[in-house]
């Protein structure tokens, strides 16, 4: 996985205007994810819930969205369905602390690019981000 994730830090100047949105109701994990994405050389913006993210109108400006699945209010899956319905094709990476049956399947069915189970190695998320960013320009 590490080999498929070249260090973005070296190309920080190129990536600086690439915005990644991160949605998680857990303050410390959200802060950590924002920090990780920043260490990769991207811009990152964190939101405590899907409603705040929608209100900020960040969906189309983001190159990728990383969202928790279970959150108070709109879930990550519901958010993705809503974005798709609005014609937004920004890739969505879903993360969850739950291992209940069928959750992964429902997440993929809603159109998630990746589904990661917490705790996940940072490389797994970086790998997903690489795939999202590689995909993103062609879809625009």
């Amino acid at each position: 996985m590490i080999s498929s994730a070249p260090a973005k830090a070296d190309s920080a100047c190129v990536a600086e205007d690439t915005l990644i949105s991160i949605i998680d109701d857990d303050d410390s994990l959200r802060t950590a994810l924002v920090g990780l994405v920043r260490s990769l050389g991207y811009r990152a913006h964190g939101f405590a819930n899907a409603e705040d993210f929608i209100a900020a109108d960040h969906a189309d400006r983001s190159a990728a969205i990383v969202t928790d699945i279970q959150m108070p209010g709109l879930s990550g899956i519901e958010l993705k369905l809503q974005l798709t319905a609005q014609g937004c094709v920004t890739p969505v990476i879903m993360i969850t602390a739950r291992g209940e049956e069928g959750l992964r399947e429902r997440a993929f069915a809603s159109g998630a690019l990746c589904v990661l189970k917490k705790p996940f190695p940072a490389e797994a998320l970086i790998d997903c981000l690489e795939r999202a960013l590689a995909k993103e320009p062609t879809l625009r």
Binding site: A7, A9, S28, L29, T31, S39, Q70, A97, R98, L125
Partner: protein, 411 residues
């Protein structure tokens, strides 16, 4: 005796009859009875007063030797057969001696209190205490003393002793069995909450892993960003502490120690219980409202057991709403106080409880769930009652059920 002509009774006969009845009673009662001569104690107390001691209670507490001396000068004048059977070794004469041998040091305060009751004109005194048999065995006893003014004036005292060791042991065993059951129920409840607990622990672990990876990346840059790494490292420490706290609370819940009553804030117990409930509520789409009244009097209970009651009643409410449309699942946890009673309500928006089942709900092994053991609510009740409280359930007018726990507030 009823056939006797009262007129023919001389004063002497009446006295003899009274004495005869007293002797009969003294012997026939199932309790152990003692007649004591405490004349020298009167002298000791008068001397104390002369020395200016007015507060006997404080003096006795500060001078255990004085209390022991009062026991030593108190003589056993007579005992009944029950006393010989309970305290002695078959020989009554052996028991007629100074009183102190029957009173272990640990029971000094009960003797002191009975003396104070006598000199302050109380008609009687009773207390549970520990007494010693001639063979040295110490046992739990109910001690009673009667202070008839004429007898006290003559330096005589009648005391009764009932052996309550079996009752005390049975109580201790019952408490232990209750604690065992409560623990078993807690462990089984934790099992049901595993997914939520795993989620709670996974959050800080995920944050730690992510922060550490980010830290490495800042270090691996051509010019390492030490400030970023320092900030990340601090966050890692905080998250590790958070994970450790969660483990500690789960361990408390799973642990098996003797329950200990302490003055607790009910609101903080409710808030702590949310650790076990937050994701359970979210996973079942239950909207929670905490309506906690501030400034509640504290309640006297074991923290873990009270938390168990809160988690159990909340989980019951969540399960009761399984068939309710997801957007209508509401749980209100309310605390308030009414006079000296602290009240805790769990109001759900489920189907309510069949009135026919309402009365049986707190009975052991009664369950309305296909996978339930029927022990949750009886254990909640036994815990609440241990701390002098009560638990009840009613259907709400607007639909749904409301479980109510009432606990006495401490002053």
């Amino acid at each position: 005796m009823a056939s006797r002509d009262p007129k023919s009774q001389t004063a002497e006969e009446a006295l003899r009859e009274s004495e005869y009845r007293y002797r009969n009673l003294f012997q026939a009662m199932a309790a152990s009875f003692w007649e004591l001569d405490f004349t020298p104690v009167g002298g000791m107390l008068r001397d104390l007063r002369k020395q200016g001691v007015a507060d006997f209670a404080t003096y006795f507490a500060d001078h255990p030797d004085f209390v022991r001396e009062m026991m030593r000068v108190t003589r056993v004048v007579d005992v009944n057969d029950q006393t010989v059977a309970l305290f002695g070794r078959g020989d009554k004469a052996e028991l007629l001696r100074p009183l102190d041998i029957y009173w272990p040091e640990e029971s000094n305060d009960v003797y002191a209190s009975s003396v104070i009751a006598a000199v302050t004109g109380k008609p009687s005194y009773a207390s549970e205490t520990r007494l010693r048999k001639l063979n040295g065995e110490v046992f739990d006893a109910l001690f009673t003393a009667c202070f008839a003014p004429e007898a006290v004036g003559a330096g005589k005292l009648l005391i009764g002793v009932i052996d309550i060791s079996e009752r005390v042991q049975a109580h201790a065993m019952l408490r232990q069995v209750q604690a065992e059951f409560a623990h078993a129920a807690r462990v089984s409840m934790l099992g049901e909450l595993t997914a939520s607990i795993a989620h709670e622990v996974n959050q800080p672990l995920a944050a730690i892993a992510t922060n550490a990876s980010a830290g490495l990346r800042w270090l691996d840059r051509p010019e390492p960003d030490i400030a970023e790494v320092r900030a990340l490292t601090k966050r890692i420490i905080a998250d590790a502490e958070r994970a450790a706290n969660i483990i500690a609370r789960v361990r408390d819940m799973a642990g098996h120690r003797t329950p200990e009553a302490a003055a607790l804030s009910l609101n903080s117990v409710v808030e702590e219980a949310m650790l076990f409930l937050a994701h359970e509520l979210q996973g079942h789409s239950v909207a929670l409202t905490l309506a906690l009244q501030r400034g509640l009097p504290r309640v006297l209970a074991d923290r873990t057991q009270l938390q168990q009651v809160v988690v159990n009643l909340a989980v019951n409410a969540i399960q009761a709403m399984a068939q309710t449309p997801a957007d209508a699942r509401q749980l209100v946890v309310r605390t308030q106080f009414e006079g000296v009673v602290v009240r805790l309500d769990f109001e759900d928006s489920g189907p309510g409880i069949d009135p026919e089942q309402q009365a049986r709900l707190f009975e052991s092994f009664f369950t309305t769930k296909s996978n339930g053991m029927g022990m949750g609510l009886p254990i909640c009740r036994s815990i609440v009652e241990t701390y002098g409280g009560a638990i009840s359930v009613r259907n709400r007018e607007q639909g749904g059920a409301c479980f109510t726990v009432m606990l006495p507030g401490t002053a």
